[in-house]
């Protein structure tokens, strides 16, 4: 897992998320493990979403600046 203060990069988070999804899609993990992985997946999803939103906002702000 990512250590504190060191922000995970979008691509990294997405890649991790995809790996988790692939594991989950196989469907052969114990329940607790599955839930744990799912929970991690949801966290990564949130991180990705936030990063995308931030990026969008930044782009919009930059475009405002040059208008």
């Amino acid at each position: 897992m990512q250590s504190e203060g060191e922000e995970i990069k979008f691509e990294e988070a997405l890649k991790k998320l995809e790996e988790i999804v692939e594991e989950l899609e196989k469907g052969d993990m114990p329940l607790e493990e599955t839930i744990r992985k799912f929970e991690e997946g949801i966290k990564l999803c949130k991180i990705c979403k936030e990063k995308l939103e931030k990026a969008e906002m930044k782009i919009e702000k930059l475009m405002e600046d040059i208008k």
Binding site: L14, L52, E56
Partner: protein
């Protein structure tokens, strides 16, 4: 006297010869210009002349260290004698010296040839004049018109500080003064150009500028030298050695400094060119930037994120699907197991008409007659209820 009788040609000529040779016109020096020069069997025949007269000359078996030329000014030493056979008097030359301008010119040509061979006139060794000197030195006579001419031109074209090295520009010792001035100026480090020169004069007057020591001093000068001696038509050794030859002192001053007005115009035109260049560059880059801004990336910047958003959405959907599917499958598994368990449920047999008996005292199922005693209370469960009973007897 002599006129009382008739003479033969021989007699009178002999008489004249006697008179002339009695006058003892011997070992005299005569100056004149050579003409009608010819040579035969080792003897030289020529005429010496000036504006007023002509004198026939002959030199027997000469061994001069130089060759004579028509037009040369010479001094001839010899005796005047009469040549009876031809009926004329002539100078029997014993010694000839190149005299006046003739000698100087010979010296000039010799020195010129020598220095040229040594490479003192080499164009490749000539120094460039600085475009804008900060200080120039003028080596000339402080009293000459040449100095005034140069100062006038300098103040008109480009006011500049001038160092004057006052020297004599003609006569004995002037060449040494010029040489010394060149050396002294070269020991300074604030002079950018040297002008040496003088106004017009006779060929003899210009001689210091034909001296070898002056030529060598010019050649070894580290500072560029402009030579301006006499008039346009005068050429001196100094002119050949100098980095630049100016036809006149005024022209030398013009060469040494740029014209202030022209310079200002030149600078202004350069500023204009510079501005134009910068503007062009700016327009060029502005067009590039504007072109970039019109590209899709900047027109629809959010499209940059499109792929990432899609990938994220996809993955998120897959995550949700995966967990849903996983949970569904687990649930389904449990259900199946439940069915199976259900199938083995002892209560299921009740449906088929069996019953189950419990001991009431400990609520335990009993399946053997040994497990109950007569008088025990028991519970009999059937498919739709239970009955409490007492054991009456065992078999």
């Amino acid at each position: 006297m002599l006129n009382k009788r008739i003479y033969t040609v021989g007699e009178i000529t002999a008489h004249i010869k006697e008179i002339i040779e009695d006058a003892c016109i011997n070992d005299i020096w005569v100056e004149g210009e050579i003409s009608n020069l010819r040579e035969a069997i080792g003897n030289l025949y020529f005429d010496l002349k000036d504006e007023r007269a002509l004198l026939r000359c002959i030199m027997f078996q000469h061994c001069l260290p130089f060759s004579l030329k028509n037009g040369m000014k010479v001094i001839v030493k010899g005796d005047i004698r009469v040549y009876e056979k031809k009926g004329y008097y002539q100078l029997y030359a014993k010694e000839i010296k190149i005299g006046g301008v003739g000698e100087l010119f010979m010296k000039f040509l010799e020195l010129k040839e020598k220095l040229e061979k040594e490479g003192l006139f080499d164009e490749k060794l000539k120094k460039e004049l600085p475009r804008i000197p900060s200080k120039i030195a003028i080596i000339t006579s402080p009293d000459g018109a040449a100095l005034q001419d140069m100062l006038n031109v300098l103040s008109r074209r480009f006011p500049i500080s001038v160092v004057l090295a006052p020297v004599r520009v003609q006569g004995e010792g002037s060449a040494e003064e010029i040489e010394r001035a060149l050396n002294i100026i070269n020991s300074r480090d604030d002079i950018d150009v040297i002008i040496i020169g003088r106004g017009g004069g006779s060929w003899e007057d210009l001689q210091p500028f034909n001296e070898e020591n002056v030529a060598r001093a010019i050649f070894s000068s580290k500072i560029p030298v402009i030579s301006a001696v006499g008039h346009e038509t005068d050429f001196t050794i100094a002119d050949f050695v100098a980095d630049k030859r100016a036809p006149t002192p005024s022209a030398a001053a013009e060469m040494a400094v740029p014209d202030r007005k022209e310079l200002v115009e030149y600078i202004e035109s350069n500023i204009k060119r510079l501005q134009k260049m910068v503007e062009n560059k700016l327009t060029f880059y502005r067009n590039i930037v504007e072109g970039m801004m019109k590209r899709k990336t900047f027109l629809y910047p959010l499209e940059l994120l499109l792929g990432k958003v899609e990938r994220w959405e996809n993955t998120f959907r897959r995550l949700k699907d995966a967990i849903k599917k996983y949970l569904n499958e687990r649930k389904r598994e449990i259900e199946v197991k439940e069915e199976i368990v259900k199938a083995f449920n002892p209560y299921a047999i009740l449906e088929r008409g069996y019953s189950i008996c419990f001991r009431l005292k400990d609520n335990k199922v009993f399946s053997s007659i040994k497990d109950v005693e007569v008088g025990d209370d028991i519970k009999v469960i059937v498919k739709d209820g239970e009955a409490k009973c007492r054991v009456k007897e065992k078999k």
